[in-house]
């Protein structure tokens, strides 16, 4: 028998989680969305994602080598960043876009702060913001449009199902309206509709304009469209379009106790409530207070990806339970503000980035009272 045993502080048992386990589980949870993007857009999305991940890993390893700190790329956190960054670009992007985005995300978003656990904002979102500022035309506009074969079935235009009946004649009645519904993402259509000057110039007849606007709106929030959005048969970024695929991953993360319910729940709830109250189109009375509208906003754009996979990023979201609620409500409110009155059709990334910066302050202000502490 030995006479010296390991002496270490209690507890002497551990639930066997570790940083790599957490991160690789996030990777697993992101895979269904990747599978759906391959299904809709072809192998190119896999290629882009692989490039983004590879760039993230190499950048992290290189910088850690230069910093003379242990190389920890095996922990999967760089893989998560590379995946999330690529999920936030268009499937039509050139190959170097995810590469540059990932390099920026890891180098400037993560390693300059000291690596995992020290970054102020979500590295992937910072990388995306950098790409959006540097190559706006690649990051918005036509590149958002699905370009592969499966995505536009004959019965729907850009997922907007009941417009098929009017779409043929729409081209002759109002080329402007036709271009809109066939060109962009559902959120872009929604944003354009909210612009009253746009509706007023659809045709020369005001009554027809209101009718057309209402029709497009109803097409957007119609069951068929929502279904397309749920499955991901719409325009958008690589990893954000399929609500279904993302929810599979989200349920996995909740089940594995890797993310906690407060942030996604209050984020989505805030978006739903605010879009129900304020999401109707100004000037179109029939579009107010529709129950389908909040669903449209929940399914649209990067909200599901953002709420479950990016707003929940450990390092950049609040520690305290109440803090998480405030943070999530802040993310939701900003997202809605940007979507309804901002210059961009989508506001998820900027909202989360902004709330990331607020996180230390939120933690400070929401420090919990210890069990048994009386309120002073």
């Amino acid at each position: 028998m030995k006479d010296k045993f390991i002496v270490s502080p209690a507890p002497h048992i551990h639930d066997s989680t570790s940083i790599p386990k957490v991160m690789w589980n996030v990777v697993i949870a992101l895979l269904p969305a990747l599978a759906f993007s391959i299904y809709y857009w072809g192998w190119k999305t896999l290629f882009l994602t692989a490039l983004g991940v590879l760039a993230a890993i190499l950048t992290e390893a290189l910088i850690q080598k230069l910093r003379k700190v242990p190389i920890t790329v095996y922990d999967g956190s760089a893989v998560v960043t590379g995946m999330l960054l690529t999920y936030n670009i268009s499937p039509g992007s050139p190959w170097w876009l995810p590469v540059i985005g990932s390099i920026f995300a890891i180098a400037i978003g993560k390693q300059v702060f000291g690596g995992l656990g020290n970054n102020a904002v979500n590295p992937a979102l910072l990388g995306r913001a950098f790409l959006l500022a540097s190559w706006p035309s690649l990051m918005t506009g036509n590149c958002w449009k699905p370009t592969m074969a499966h995505n536009l079935s004959a019965s729907s235009i850009n997922g907007i199902s009941n417009l098929s009946a009017i779409s043929d004649s729409l081209a002759t009645i109002s080329p402007k309206a036709y271009n809109l519904v066939t060109g962009a993402t559902p959120l872009k259509v929604m944003q354009t509709l909210r612009d009253t000057t746009f509706i007023n110039t659809l045709t020369s007849d005001p009554a027809t304009n209101i009718d057309l606007g209402t029709k497009i709106f109803n097409g957007l929030i119609d069951m068929g469209t929502l279904k397309s959005m749920f499955w991901g048969n719409i325009g958008g970024c690589i990893g954000e379009v399929s609500v279904f695929a993302l929810l599979i991953g989200a349920i996995y993360l909740l089940w594995k106790n890797i993310i906690e319910w407060r942030i996604p729940f209050f984020y989505l709830l805030t978006v739903a409530v605010l879009t129900f109250l304020f999401g109707g189109i100004p000037g179109l009375p029939e579009t107010q207070y529709s129950l389908s509208l909040p669903i449209f906003h929940l399914f649209a754009g990067g909200l599901i990806l953002g709420a479950f996979f990016m707003a929940t990023d450990y390092t950049t979201s609040p520690l305290t339970k109440n803090g998480r609620i405030f943070y999530a409500i802040g993310c939701g409110a900003l997202t809605v503000i940007i979507r309804l009155i901002g210059g961009y059709p989508e506001g998820v990334s900027y909202s989360i980035l902004f709330m990331n910066v607020m996180t230390p302050l939120i933690d400070k202000l929401t420090m919990p009272k210890a069990f048994g502490k009386v309120k002073k």
Binding site: I6, A10, G114, L319, G372, V374
Partner: protein
């Protein structure tokens, strides 16, 4: 059955299967015992004997030297062979009395008073005090102090802690099955001393046999009841147990008596019963000797001061190399460098880990996952306590809850970065005390 519990907590595998069905076995008289002078919270006891002196089993060999202190007794008969520093079951080296046995186990004179319930309260308290009883669940607070609350703090409820939420340990479980009546008598004595109207025994749901047995025995008592509790760690922590059983919240920095409650471990209750009825000092207790490498894990009734090495030998030795020796439970117990330490009054378990189980993982950066926040039963922010202590920012650590931490270890148990949060809390508490003293 509706199970009661508290917010937060974790679910470690309970690993009680090794010993939960093994009846208590009497450990044969040890040849040598080492009685530490600090087996309790408070001032160390002062030796009354000299080297070479003959002592009897149960003889007082050290005196309490303060209000918060207890006397110590020899647990075997024999000769005092050393008064020196020895390895303490909590890890450090401290003063202890070594007694080498004469093999006769001749006791001091005991009594038997079947009518013990009618003894005057003062006599009961005196016997408990003289018996050297301290809390046997681990913390080791002198029992007599707990039984003497200030007059302006009336106690209405006594809760016996039979939760045993630490994994591996089954000592309290077996005691509840095999000495149920003694425990209930102990509860009644405590209630009489405190003039409390209600008595409860809190038991976790993984001990259905103990719950059933206590229920049966308490069926005819209308002021005594069993409180079945949800299986969750740290269900047996005092404040968490009180909340689960009564919904009362002990104020931060306060004591259970502030909310009219006194909690005693079931083992302590049994010791109280024996002290009051037989004038028997606390010289033996039940200890679970277990772990994957122990050949025959057992629940042993052993004399205080018995060396861990003797206990392990009695349990058939080990199957493979020992990696770690833990006195107490795996969540809050202490790891020891060797098996040379003796068991003390608060030592409920001796757990041996294999080398593989003993492996520790390097601490990494906190990634702010907040898992520690989600499991903290005291509603603190453990990661910020650790960060504050590490970074020398005690103000942050205190804000995050340094003073209120009960060191249950739930946070460190779930930490994916394997940060030794409890150790940082210990360091922080020390530094904070120094800082306040300096002011």
């Amino acid at each position: 059955m509706k199970l009661k519990t508290f917010p937060g907590g974790v679910h470690p595998p309970d690993n009680k299967q090794y010993t939960s069905a093994v009846p208590i076995e009497e450990f044969p008289l040890p040849q040598k015992v080492v009685i530490p002078m600090s087996q309790h919270v408070g001032a160390p006891s002062v030796p009354l004997v000299k080297v070479g002196e003959e002592v009897k089993t149960g003889q007082k060999i050290a005196e309490a030297n303060a209000y918060v202190s207890i006397p110590q007794h020899s647990s075997i008969s024999g000769k005092v062979t050393k008064i020196d520093t020895f390895l303490h079951p909590l890890g450090a080296m401290s003063l202890a009395i070594e007694i080498t046995g004469d093999g006769s186990d001749s006791w001091i004179e005991l009594v038997d008073e079947p009518d013990f319930m009618n003894l005057p309260v003062e006599e009961m308290k005196n016997r408990i005090k003289e018996a050297g009883i301290c809390g046997m669940g681990g913390a080791g607070f002198p029992t007599i102090v707990k039984l003497s609350p200030p007059e302006n703090k009336p106690i209405d409820t006594v809760i016996l802690n039979g939760v045993e939420c630490e994994p591996y340990l089954t000592a309290d479980h077996r005691l509840m099955l095999e000495q149920s009546e003694g425990i209930i008598n102990g509860l009644k004595i405590i209630m009489k001393i405190l003039n409390a109207q209600h008595g409860m025994i809190g038991i976790e749901s993984n001990k259905p046999d103990a719950i059933a047995q206590m229920n049966k025995l308490l069926a005819s008592e209308n002021n005594l009841s069993v409180v079945p509790l949800k299986l969750k760690y740290p269900q047996g922590a005092e404040k968490q147990l009180i909340y689960a059983a009564t919904k009362r919240i002990v104020p931060a920095g306060g004591l259970p008596l502030d909310v009219g409650i006194v909690v005693q471990n079931v083992g302590t209750a049994f010791a109280i019963y024996e002290a009051v009825r037989f004038k028997k000092p606390l010289v033996e207790r039940i200890i679970t000797v277990t772990g994957s490498v122990v050949n025959n894990p057992k629940n042993l009734k052993a004399r205080i001061g018995t060396l861990f090495s003797d206990l392990v030998t009695y349990c058939g030795g080990t199957k493979s190399e020992i990696g770690k020796v833990i006195s107490g439970g795996p969540m809050m117990g202490y790891s020891l460098p060797s098996l040379d330490a003796p068991m003390a009054k608060g030592t409920s378990g001796l757990i041996l880990f294999s080398e593989k189980e003993a492996r520790t993982i390097e601490e990494r950066n906190c990634i702010h996952c907040a898992h520690c926040v989600d499991v903290c039963p005291m509603n603190l922010v453990p990661s910020l306590i650790a960060q504050g202590v590490k970074g020398g920012d005690l103000t942050l650590a205190v804000k995050a809850g340094l003073e209120d931490c009960i060191k249950c270890g739930s946070c460190a148990y779930v930490c994916p970065a394997h940060i030794r949060i409890v150790q940082w809390v210990d360091t922080g508490k020390l530094r904070y005390a120094e800082e306040r003293q300096a002011k």
